[in-house]
């Protein structure tokens, strides 16, 4: 018996890890026909781990005060500390990858209708993760204290202020808007106090909430079972041939995908950081000088473009919040028990339109706000809204077809 086995036995005798391994890894069965996009869940988890570990290193050298923040990030971390640059690159690239992977994961969930019964809670907790993730990203973006950080934060925190443009009950909406803006900024102007507060929430409050939510999300996935790309819920006992053991069938496959994902990730970290550490942000924050083009980071540009292309500020604000709410109540909008775009031709078309429109909205957000772009933005905003609002009708039609065919699963 080798040393490793001895150590494992020693631990097993005390912690019963072999039982957990057997019941949770080998005897845990997942559908055999899982497709490639199912990997995004584990990639998101890996990126979360990367963010936490690289953040732990950065927090040791970062100073949350407006006098020192920029210097500690650009001078101390990038030059003085051995490999500080590496951890900053990893954290900055990881933030972008995290959002990208989470978006892909969400689109996968929508495509395979993974939000339907019995997985509604998985979807709702996932939505909460997404929401806290946006807050984490916004707060983290302020910390380098560059021009983009500073003005991006100001613009983002002042977007709720558009509530003050409400057509009715203006006084009440104005009071609400002012309160929200003050909460987000922590004062009338962005100062040392704001930076400290944002730092605290970025390094402690949001990560803790995220950790808890991710734990709940994982538990719920295990409890409800992984969805099937075919959209058919097989019984594990009646159809054992449709299932494979989680280990080694899925773990090794996703392990290989994770390795290749990390290869892509480290390509960006070592050789292509220009888009993750934008040049404009190497100018220290200057409250007296507003840069000409301020836009949020790419992961919010879709929402930003919806907000920007609607002529009224109030309705723009309502619109992009409605999009967030629509995402949350997807299980209600798409009410029929039919699952997976593979079996739903109308839903497939709607999904493709939705996906392309959200991408176009994001790219329109990077462009300058010309009247032409505003018109295009309006058209694609309508398409995105059209996707959500047509879901009940699509569900109705497809459910009718399903019933007409005799209501069988296949």
């Amino acid at each position: 018996m080798g040393l490793i086995e001895k150590v494992i036995d020693w631990i097993d005798e005390r912690a019963h890890v072999k039982d957990i391994y057997r019941t949770q890894m080998v005897e845990y069965k997942v559908p055999k026909n899982l497709t490639f996009p199912y990997v995004f869940g584990v990639l998101a988890l890996v990126t979360f781990a990367i963010q936490i570990i690289s953040g732990m290193v950065l927090i040791l050298y970062y100073k949350p005060s407006i006098a020192d923040a920029f210097d500690s990030a650009t001078y101390t971390i990038m030059g003085e500390i051995p490999f500080g640059w590496l951890f900053r690159h990893i954290h900055a690239a990881g933030a972008n990858f995290f959002m990208a992977i989470v978006y892909l994961h969400m689109f996968t969930g929508i495509y395979y209708n993974a939000y339907k019964r019995p997985r509604e809670l998985v979807w709702i907790v996932g939505w909460l993760i997404y929401f806290v993730l946006i807050l984490t990203a916004l707060s983290g973006y302020l910390l380098p204290w560059g021009q983009l950080s500073y003005w991006g934060f100001i613009v983002t925190t002042e977007i709720p202020g558009s509530l003050a443009d409400a057509p009715i009950l203006r006084d009440i909406f104005k009071a609400i808007a002012e309160t929200i803006v003050l909460w987000m900024k922590g004062g009338y102007i962005v100062t040392d106090v704001t930076l400290g507060r944002v730092f605290g929430s970025h390094v402690l409050i949001y990560p803790l909430i995220l950790l808890a939510l991710v734990g709940i999300h994982l538990y719920l996935v295990r409890a409800a079972g992984i969805s099937n790309p075919e959209g058919i819920e097989y019984d594990k006992k009646k159809n054992p041939d449709k299932f494979v053991p989680f280990h080694p069938y899925v773990t090794l496959k996703e392990g290989a995908y994770v390795m290749w994902y990390l290869a892509v990730f480290f390509f960006f970290v070592f050789f292509h950081m220009g888009h993750f550490l934008p040049a404009d942000n190497f100018e220290p924050a200057n409250p007296l000088k507003t840069p000409p083009h301020i836009a949020p980071e790419w992961y919010l540009l879709g929402f930003y473009e919806v907000f920007r292309s609607i002529p009224s500020k109030f309705w723009g604000f309502v619109a992009f919040n409605a999009l967030l709410i629509f995402l949350l109540i997807l299980p209600l909008l798409d009410w029929s028990p039919l699952k997976s775009a593979r079996r739903r031709p109308l839903f497939f078309v709607a999904f493709v339109v939705f996906m392309i429109s959200s991408m176009v909205l994001t790219i329109l957000g990077t462009m300058e706000p010309t009247p032409m772009n505003a018109k295009l933005g309006l058209i694609f905003s309508f398409l995105v809204f059209g996707f959500f609002l047509s879901l009940p009708i699509i569900s109705f039609i497809e459910y009718g077809w399903y019933k007409a065919k005799g209501g069988k699963q296949q």
Partner: protein, 240 residues
């Protein structure tokens, strides 16, 4: 895989790749101002660590030029250059020693240059900075990380002819090619110096590149090995 599967893969995979290519590599829809360095001085900015005939590196010559021509208005704290009026103040040496620390950058220690925190420096130099503000309309910015923010093309064109690039700026035209034959060369040396402060030296860059290639190769190979191991294992278990 059926034809329909292939079409779906192309639709979803292709659009995702195109989308992230536009966001993370090259965005043809985004308007970006472009400034070019003149052809004859490109070599100077390309490698600031090259030795010149005088035995110094280009970056060192650029530093001397920076202190002589720029430091009456601009500081460059990441390399221990402060306003001329501050550095000539005898008390400043004590501040550097007590509040600052020697510059240490990419593994090289510069014992005679000091990094002083921004608030300490601005408090000490308050009057000097206010005088500059009164004369120029605003406090001239510290140029520590300006190279990273603006890039060499912009800096070169701007220093050579500030009014052309940024009309109405209070920055004077110090180097005029009409009166000074070496003007372009001098400007290029200053830009090269600013680059040397912010960009890792070639030796360090090579180290980083080798490290990057090794890390990427490691993950690719590990992925392949895992895949191979999985195929063999599943064949033995009868799952394949």
């Amino acid at each position: 895989m059926s034809a329909w599967d292939i079409i779906k893969t192309i639709i979803f995979g292709g659009s995702t790749l195109v989308f992230f290519f536009i966001l993370w590599f090259y965005n043809p829809f985004k308007h970006v101002e472009h400034y070019e360095v003149d052809e004859e001085v490109k070599g100077i900015i390309a490698n600031p660590w090259k030795k010149t005939e005088s035995g110094k590196t280009i970056a060192e010559e650029g530093r001397e030029l920076f202190i002589a021509s720029c430091s009456s208005c601009h500081s460059l704290r990441y390399d221990g250059i402060y306003l001329m009026s501050v550095q000539s103040n005898p008390k400043w040496k004590n501040i550097e020693k007590s509040a600052g620390r020697p510059i240490y950058r990419h593994g090289v220690l510069y014992k005679d240059r000091f990094f002083v925190p921004k608030d300490v420096y601005e408090a000490f130099a308050y009057e000097d900075l206010q005088n500059l503000k009164a004369a120029l309309g605003q406090v001239p910015p510290d140029l520590s990380a300006t190279y990273l923010a603006r890039g060499d093309g912009y800096l070169y064109q701007f220093i050579l002819n500030p009014q052309k690039v940024l009309p109405g700026t209070s920055m004077p035209q110090i180097f005029n090619p009409q009166y000074d034959e070496q003007a372009k060369e001098k400007v290029a040396k200053i830009v090269a110096y600013m680059k040397s402060v912010n960009v890792p030296p070639p030796k360090e860059q090579v180290k980083r590149n080798v490290m990057g290639v090794l890390v990427i190769a490691y993950f690719i190979v590990m992925g392949l090995l895992l895949w191979k191991y999985r195929t063999n294992l599943l064949k033995r278990l009868g799952y394949y």
